[in-house]
Symmetry: C2
Subunit: 324 residues, 2 copies
């Protein structure tokens, strides 16, 4: 059995060993750039840990792990075009550096490259792995579409929001856990429990993302606080606040982000004042704890020695301590 | 054995039977729109015919055939964003109708949907089918990148151009033929010959596209002639002309398309006058015939009854008679 640090090291080494064709330069350079060190490599680490629960050869899961990481980075690349995001992990986004056309095409090639890595998996497992990968990939697209849809809607229910982040964020974690466990040789019941673990972990993870964007510490976060408020995003915080607001407060919540008479700090202060009045930070922390508990319950329900599940538990708890 | 019309009918019926999820609407509507009747369905027809060479059950190849057709339409969707094309098959392009973001994301979902169809193939063949599909898909991206690169280059050799269209156009035809033949149970030698047939057919097909854009009949073509000239595209015609031009003629070839003192008909007339002086239409026709001969040679080299290869031969010859 491998420790979290060992798994993480194996993943980083493998990702760094991937070699892309030299030509055409403009197609593969943005891919190499997107995959440079800097990400958390959370999904491939989770995938290898899930495999290691059932098998002493987690390295066999490396191609699938890299496939998921590359698919994830492909979604970031295309999302950055759609969101017109200038920066990714402290560097110019691909479409800012190479242009939109190159970013679209390199993203496409990244997705194909992810599928190409699946060729290296056990042929007998390929049907199940492909099915899992495809479902996961389609769910991520569905989640991104709902996220874009919500921008144009006045009201989004908490349930709709959770379903959206289940697709946009949890699907990749659940898919990673399932792929790893499939490669490790898990039975059907274990697959379902691990998927539930990763789904709930993903929900907790995304809600924490929402919370940190408004209530995090800009110093430790390495970015300005309040970006979601300034963009008028319908985050979990906003949705809970809208549900508790009266008509006047509702108007403030919905119109402040595009009120040109206000400075950015004023906008953030105004929205945060309402969040504070409703106790939104505490409500969000409760929701995070709730989903985190469900995740750990699913993990503990596995018929596996506690010591084997310890690295996954540590990974989950480590994520909740993160500040970026 | 099925006739060309029967195969074509089976393909159309299957494509029309595909059902996409109802939600999110904005994700799947553009996909349904892209796949509406109107295309030639050349690639899935070729795929089923290749299968039917070796098997009496070409319907087994339908999911792979639809996967290729959907992948092809995905490339058109993303290419239309990159080329800023307003119209596709006489209808507004997806990005014109739904916006760029929806077009990027729907295209991504289309590609994933294509891979999802592969799940329905014989599990034992899946490794070979996935490998072929991935290689084909990556080559198409490489071809599109070279095509974009060439726009910014003064000189492109005939060899470089042929390599670009081998990737951008032939790869999909070669991949289709190989996938169909794999499903039909072809041996390695037959696979290679069929791939060669489809590659050469693709080259002839693309060169004819270039020729028709400048020398076709706008009436039968259903679009204005000279689009490539007005866009300053480095087509086969332009590349052959540049190779034969002196310094003055070269300047005319390279600068006419963006000369603001000229009307569109004047630009077309000026470039065509040079093409005519160099006999470019005849040179292109010779190249088309050359690649068509190589295609038919590869087909005839198959150790299969002539009557079985007749539909593929008819398909190829029909393509050469097309005027759009």
């Amino acid at each position: 059995m491998y420790t979290q640090e060992e798994i993480s090291g194996i993943v980083r080494q493998y990702m760094a060993s991937l070699v892309f064709p030299a030509h055409p330069r403009e197609l593969f350079s943005p891919i190499e750039y997107s995959l440079e060190e800097g990400g958390k490599r959370l999904r491939p680490t989770l995938l290898l840990m899930a495999c290691n629960l059932f098998s002493e050869q987690p390295r066999e899961a490396l191609p699938a792990a890299a496939a998921v990481e590359i698919f994830h980075n492909f979604t970031l690349l295309h999302d950055d075009i759609m969101d017109n995001a200038e920066v990714r992990r402290g560097k110019p986004s691909v479409h800012r550096r190479w242009g939109t056309n190159a970013a679209i095409l390199s993203g496409d090639a990244m997705m194909i490259y992810a599928y190409t890595l699946l060729e290296q998996c056990d042929p007998g497992l390929l049907p199940a792995l492909l099915e899992t990968f495809n479902r996961m990939a389609m769910e991520v697209c569905e989640g991104q579409q709902y996220d874009m849809d919500f921008e144009h809607r006045e009201s989004v229910s908490e349930e709709e929001y959770l379903n959206m982040i289940r697709l946009k964020t949890s699907a990749l974690l659940a898919g990673s856990a399932r792929l790893g466990a499939l490669i490790g040789g898990a039975d059907g019941e274990s697959l379902d429990k691990l998927e539930r673990f990763a789904t709930q972990l993903g929900l907790a993870f995304q809600l924490q993302d929402d919370l940190l964007d408004t209530y995090g510490d800009s110093q430790t976060l390495g970015k300005a606080i309040g970006g979601d408020i300034l963009e008028g995003k319908k985050t979990y915080l906003m949705i809970r606040a809208l549900a508790l607001a009266n008509a006047t407060q509702r108007t403030t919540l919905l119109t402040t982000s595009h009120d040109e008479s206000l400075s950015a700090p004023e906008k953030i202060m105004r929205i945060r004042a309402l969040y504070d009045r409703f106790g939104i930070a505490r409500l969000t922390e409760q929701a995070i704890s709730h989903h985190m508990s469900l995740a750990l319950e699913a993990l503990e329900a596995l018929r596996i020695d506690k010591e084997r599940t310890a690295p996954l538990k540590a990974l989950a708890q480590g994520l909740m301590k993160r500040n970026k």
